[in-house]
């Protein structure tokens, strides 16, 4: 009887999740302009400093172990915040790119496909990097491997700009702050 009850609850939960995702998917069909407004600029330079290994080494040399751990945790939290925004931006760009996949212009379709691929890669890398950051928060001396995210984000900037240019040459899309 207990097993039956557990399975019924699990099945009901799965059904609610599937129907909830169905409704939210149908409601997410907002126009491109609304999607583009969801993109938050990311200060890529500040992020690069936060994950720079030489900065870490410098701080480790200059600070006492206790101070370094404290500072490093703050830096990791800040890096995680940047990565979360980058991941959200990637998700928005997936939606924008997928909307542009139906364009009649071949060059736009190619640019859109590359944008979607890069955005998906960044979203994946961002998830892995966040896991590593949470791990590093517990052990601040461990090496932080956020480099794939940084590289992915830089590539994504280029793709987004190319797609923006192809769709509307006068108005580029920006996902990085100066």
């Amino acid at each position: 009887m207990t097993l039956a009850l557990v399975l019924v609850i699990v099945a009901a939960f799965a059904l609610v999740v599937i129907l909830g995702l169905t409704v939210s998917t149908r409601l997410q069909l907002s126009p491109g302009s609304a999607l583009a407004r969801k993109i938050e600029p990311v200060d890529i330079e500040a992020f690069r400093n936060l994950v720079d290994p030489t900065e870490n080494e410098y701080l480790q040399r200059r600070l006492s172990p206790a101070e370094f751990r404290k500072v490093q945790r703050e830096r990791l939290r800040a890096a995680a915040a940047y990565i979360r925004v980058a991941g959200r931006n990637a998700a928005v760009l997936v939606a924008i790119g997928q909307a542009a996949l139906n364009a009649s212009d071949g060059a736009t379709v190619d640019a859109a496909r590359q944008l979607v691929d890069n955005a998906l890669l960044l979203r994946r890398n961002a998830s892995v990097a966040l896991l590593r950051i949470y791990f590093a928060l517990a052990w601040p001396h461990s090496a932080l491997a956020a480099a794939p995210v940084l590289h992915g984000y830089e590539q994504l900037n280029g793709r987004a700009m190319l797609l923006g240019r192809l769709q509307n040459p006068g108005v580029p899309i920006r996902i990085a702050a100066n």
Binding site: L7, L15, I18, S104, D117, R123, R174, N178
Partner: protein
């Protein structure tokens, strides 16, 4: 009315399968068979299989053990076809993007293996609803299949949602129908196979099962028959921005 072999019972057993055959014909007629060959096979073979089981239930010359043997054969065929359909939808949605193609394959393999193990453990704990394995085994196998099926479908929905992947209309409709069907069937089979319900509760659960399947066939018909809304494609109005700053940033990155 809510009794076995009542008019409603017979309708709910036969009609969805006739609709499903019609759906198969529509898929073939509209040239969608190349897009979803496994779903077409499921629509035709699955429906025919269920109609054969219905015929065996009514035919006086089919003995009870033979009826359950036919049920076993139908269940095995139907289960195989369902997993082929899930694989087909997975390939349509996830493997077209090189950046997540590999990770999605690995993830679905790992999650699928875990589900098989979990379903096996759950089946091991079940005490069965009949002393004869020919009967209780059908329910246990169905429960096992629905645990794996509903888990895989839930995983695909969550994975696509996390990556904000948009589904094509047909794939979405097919998987939604299977998702609803698998969850309702799992709940009903969990009660039948594990809770030793009364005959009346069994009959009610059969009605719910058949009703849910009827609903799913209607969902599939809707997604095949009703065309996707044609949204006027316009240039995406990208946010107002500073081209000079953006170019400077890109140049700085390229020079590193």
């Amino acid at each position: 009315m809510l009794q076995a072999h009542s008019l409603l019972w017979n309708y709910l057993w036969v009609a969805p399968n006739l609709f499903l055959l019609g759906l198969g014909f529509l898929i073939w007629k509209r040239g969608l068979s190349r897009q979803v060959p496994a779903f077409l096979a499921f629509a035709v073979l699955g429906a025919l299989g269920e109609l054969v089981v219905f015929g065996a239930d009514l035919a006086p010359f089919v003995s009870a053990p033979n009826f359950w043997r036919i049920e076993w054969a139908n269940l095995l065929l139907e289960s195989l076809l369902k997993f082929l359909v899930i694989g087909e939808i997975f390939a349509r949605v996830f493997t077209q993007y090189s950046s997540i193609s590999r990770v999605s394959r690995v993830a679905v393999s790992v999650f699928g293996s875990a589900l098989v193990l979990l379903a096996g453990v759950i089946a091991g704990f079940a005490h069965g609803d009949n002393s004869r394995f020919l009967i209780s085994g059908v329910h246990l196998l169905e429960q096992t299949v629905f645990v794996i099926e509903s888990g895989l479908i839930l995983f695909l929905f969550l994975f696509a949602s996390y990556f904000r992947l948009s589904w094509d209309r047909l794939s979405f409709g097919v998987l939604l129908g299977f998702g609803v069907s698998a969850c309702v069937h799992l709940a009903m089979l969990a009660i039948v196979a594990n809770a030793s319900p009364s005959e009346h509760v069994r009959t009610l659960s059969d009605f719910l099962d058949m009703g849910a399947f009827h609903l799913c066939v209607l969902i599939w018909l809707y997604y095949v028959l009703v065309p996707q809304k044609v949204v006027k494609k316009s240039v995406v109005p990208l946010p107002e921005n500073n081209l000079a700053v953006w170019n400077r940033e890109l140049e700085r990155l390229l020079q590193q």
